[in-house]
Structures are given as C-alpha cells and as structure tokens.
Amino acid sequence: MTVKNRLTATCAAAALAAACLAAGTASAADLVISNWAGYMAPDIADTFKAATGLEIEVVNHATNEEVMGKLMASGGKGYDVVFVSSPFAEILNGQGLAEPIDKAAVPNLANLYPEAATLAYDPGNTFSVPYTWGTTGLCYRSDLVKDTPDSWLNLLQPADAIKGKTTMLATDRWLMAAGELAKGFSVNEKDPAKLEEVKNLLIEAKKTLLAYDDTTFYSKLVSGEASLVHAWDGWCNYGITENKDIKFVVPKEGSDLWIDTIVVLKSSEKKDAAMKFINFILDAKNHAWAAQNILYKVPNKAAMESLDKALSEQYPNMAMAPADLVKYELLRDLGTAQKDYSRIVSEIKAAN
C-alpha cells in the first residue's frame, strides 16, 4: 500500500466512522424515561403503546446521585420522566427542573392512599407522584441471631456473637439515620452537638462491622457471611425469597419513611405524553406489578387491595398499613446542613 492509498483509505474510514457514530443520536420515541433497572414491567413499552399509541424509551440509572448529577449538568435535556427518591425530587423542584403535575391529566391519582397525597416534601403531589414507599430497618438470619433484634443498638452495638457479621448502608443519609434513630433524634437533625454524638456512635459501630454495603447485603445474609444487616424492607424481601429464615424488623426506635417518586422534567417537550404515562403507571393493575414483582409496597390503594394475600404472608412487611408507615419521618433535603453531614460521613469512612 502506498502512502497515498493509505491516506485515502484512512479518510474514507474516518468518514464512515463519523456517519456510524452520529447515527442514532436523536431518539425517535415520544418519551424518554429514566428508572432503576428492573423497577418497571419489562414489557411496559408495549403495554403503554397498546393503551395510548405512544412510544416510550426506558433508560436505566444505577443510583439517584448519578442521574441527578446528569440532570443538573445538562438542565434535564433529553429526559422527560425520571424516577428518583423523594429528597432528590425535592431538589429537582427547588432547582426549577420539575414540571407541575397536571392533575386533570392524571385521574388515577385518585387510586393513591390519602396518606400518599399529603407527604411533607410535596403535599398534594404538586411536582411528584409516589411510586413505592417503605421503611429502613434490620434484616437478619433468625437461625443465626440468638435474640430477636428490636433496636438499632443491636446493629450499632452488636452482641459479641455477631460482631464482624453486620453490615450498614453506605449512602450518607441512611448511614446517619441509623445513628440518629438510635439516639432518638430526627433523621433530619441539624444540631451540631447532636450530630457529634451520632458521629461518635457510628465511628464506634464501624469497628464491629463486616462492611458498608448498599447493594449485596442480602446475598451476604444468604451465604451466611453476615447475620444482621441494615436494609431497606423491599430489598430484604429478596433475601427472604432465597432463604425463609431471613426476617425483617423495624426497630422500636422507628425508621425513616423512604419514597421513590416519579417526576416530569420542565425541559420535556412531551409533557402531555408524560402525564399520560404517570396516569398509566397509577392504574391499579400496572402499579400492582411493582408490588408483586419487586416486592416493594406501593402507595396505591386499589393496587394493594388487588394483591394476593399469600404475598403478605410470605413477606410480612408488605402488609404494613399506610397509617403506620406515615408515622415515620421522611428524609428531607438538608439545605446548607448537607455540608456538615458530608464532612461527618467522610470522617466516619476515614476512621479506623
């Protein structure tokens, strides 16, 4: 090959490459929806199209934090609907990125429990719609833990027999909440003196931990590597599926109330379609899919009532009444106190 031929070939290849890369940048779908993988029915695109004639494209994010970073840096461009936990929905609204929910276009809001329409971060569901909700507590192997755990201190100051066999959630708000609840403080505590106490408690607790774990804690229970873990209720259910000896308990000091929500972005050019999508999700049958398959409680009265009784026998936390659920405190955006939280969490993680 001569040099000239080589150059021509290179140029041709480059042109072809550019064409190949540029293809498929614009989305042909009516709606782009970002959700955690596996958090909606896999055939949702087909059923939604059959019901409304609209095309949707579902993309996945791994964590709230990542999709939030992306939405903030890009102003939300390209996305129409996102699923995020409530403190993040609150931030999206605070930053002016969330579109008000058009109540008239979402008649299925009537399916929600009354408790789900008066949540403190968004009373009246003005900018967000709750999709799933639940508690954070202790998930444990009843065959390996001697006394039934009932307190956060069972996790933070474990009995000798389970030292080195406990895990805690690593995400800063839930990590802090465990200490705050144990001390009887608010999960949104801002008083530096109280936060100092929580920090010291959590640094002591670190010495008895196997690991911080947000993702594989239930498989650690199944393998027997851990016997008591800090867990979200719905996630503990996956462990229960694998091993009947696994149980979930909300400690007597209480829990936080976590809520995963649906938000429509202000930058969306397909807001009508987005509202139709929310309405579709809130349909009793579609919303019940989440309860049956991902084993999370949904705040949809019609959907919960349609569930088979056997489900709540196998997973007792599924039966928790909304009135009991909303007794727990919601995680709220901390505003400027976030700085104190992140420093404390860094200090805990750096402690040895």
Partner: protein, 263 residues
Amino acid sequence: MNATFSSKLPGRIVLLLVFGFLYLPIAVLVLLSFNDSGLPTSWSGFSVRWYGALLANTDILRAAGNTFIVAIFATVISTVLGTLLALGMETRRRKSNGLEALAFAPMVIPDIVLAVALLTFFSRLGLAMGLHTIVISHVIFDLAFVCSVVRARLKHFDFSIVEASRDLGASGWTTFWRVTFPVLLPSIVAGALLAFTLSVDEFIIAFFTAGAGRSSITLPMQIYSMIRFGITPEVNALATIVMGVSATALLISQWLNRQQQVP
C-alpha cells in the same frame, strides 16, 4: 540445548504464576456464568440458562456492541494523537513544564470532574450527544496513556539515526515509516491495548456524555444500572463469550499467519 532450557525455565515459571494470578478470578467469573442462582456471591448449581437469557437480552447485546464501537474509535484516534504527541514532546529541545502537565492532567483529573465538565460543556454548546461524544471524552484520557507509554520508549531513542536517514536523502515520510515507526511499534501496540482496555471498562464519563437515549448505552452503564436488583450471571456469560471469542480469533489469525510463512 540444556543451557537454553535452564535459562528459559525461570521465565516460564514467572509467566505461569503471573498468568495464574490474572486468570484466577476469571476462572471464577466463568464458573459463575453457569451458576443457577442470580446471586453474584453464592453458588447454587450448574445451569446454562444465563446464556439463553443473554441471547434474548437485546439491551445487553446492543450495549456490548456500542462499547466495542466506542472503544475501537477511541483507541484509533488516541493512538494516533498520543503517538504524535509523544514524538513532539520527546523531540523538543527544551522541556516545557506546561506541556508535561497537560499530558499528565487527563490521568489525574478525577473522573467525576471530567464527566460533569464535559456534560456541562456539551450542553452549553448545544451539541447532540451520543456515542460520538463518548468517543471524544474517552480519547482525552486514552491519549494521555498512549503518549506516556510511547514516550517511555522514546527516552533512549537515538534521534541521530533519523537525521542520518534524512541526510541520506530519505523523505520525512519514508524516514518515519522505515526508521522511527518500527522502533516505536511495540510501544504503539502496548499503548493501543491499554487505551482499548481502559475505554471498554469506563463507566462514569460514558454515563454523563452519552446523552439521554437508549441508543448510546454502553456495557458498563448497563451493568452498573443492574446493581440495585443484583447483577445477573448474564453479564458473566457475556464476558465469557467476549473473552472466548477474542482469544479464539487471535489464535486462529496467528495460526493462519504461520501457515503462510511456512509454505
């Protein structure tokens, strides 16, 4: 005969041990691709069902295709630019700290800073995002690694042979292809392998610069998004296939090569 054998033996033992270390977790990963349970960390019986699930999973297959496209383009561009940059830096008479810092910077900028910076930048420019913006972004760090490897080789390169070749009347191109390039080739190959490997595995920058749609999801993005509900052994099955196919393709091409050379 005996002498060459004994002088080769320590080398073979070293290679055996190092490759043993490199492939130990790979053996586990392959084993897990046949694990019946979906849990990543416990074994519950042999099954090929994850291979079936993989073939039916168009999302993962498309993501794997996208990853390959991105890695190939990023590798080609960064290998060319990185090699040229290395040549430029090493043939300069005077060292420039600014240039050195610029070449080091992509390696030390935290991924998240680069990711947020690029997304902010591309959005302000109003640029449509997709695989091409991932390529642009990956070239940044890939080229720094290629440049670094090629420069290491150039450190003791005797540039007087380049001048000698030109004094003998060879053109710049001829000198490059006949003199400089053959010397650089091993480091270019090493740099390209490095760039490809880095690009294939990169997650956070790709996630930020991919745009919103499904069409530009890469494999690491797909896999990380599975974290919440557990990464199923489909991914192990895919990795097993990717490594199996790559290894087979290489060995076949080598074998064909040898057949040609030995008539």
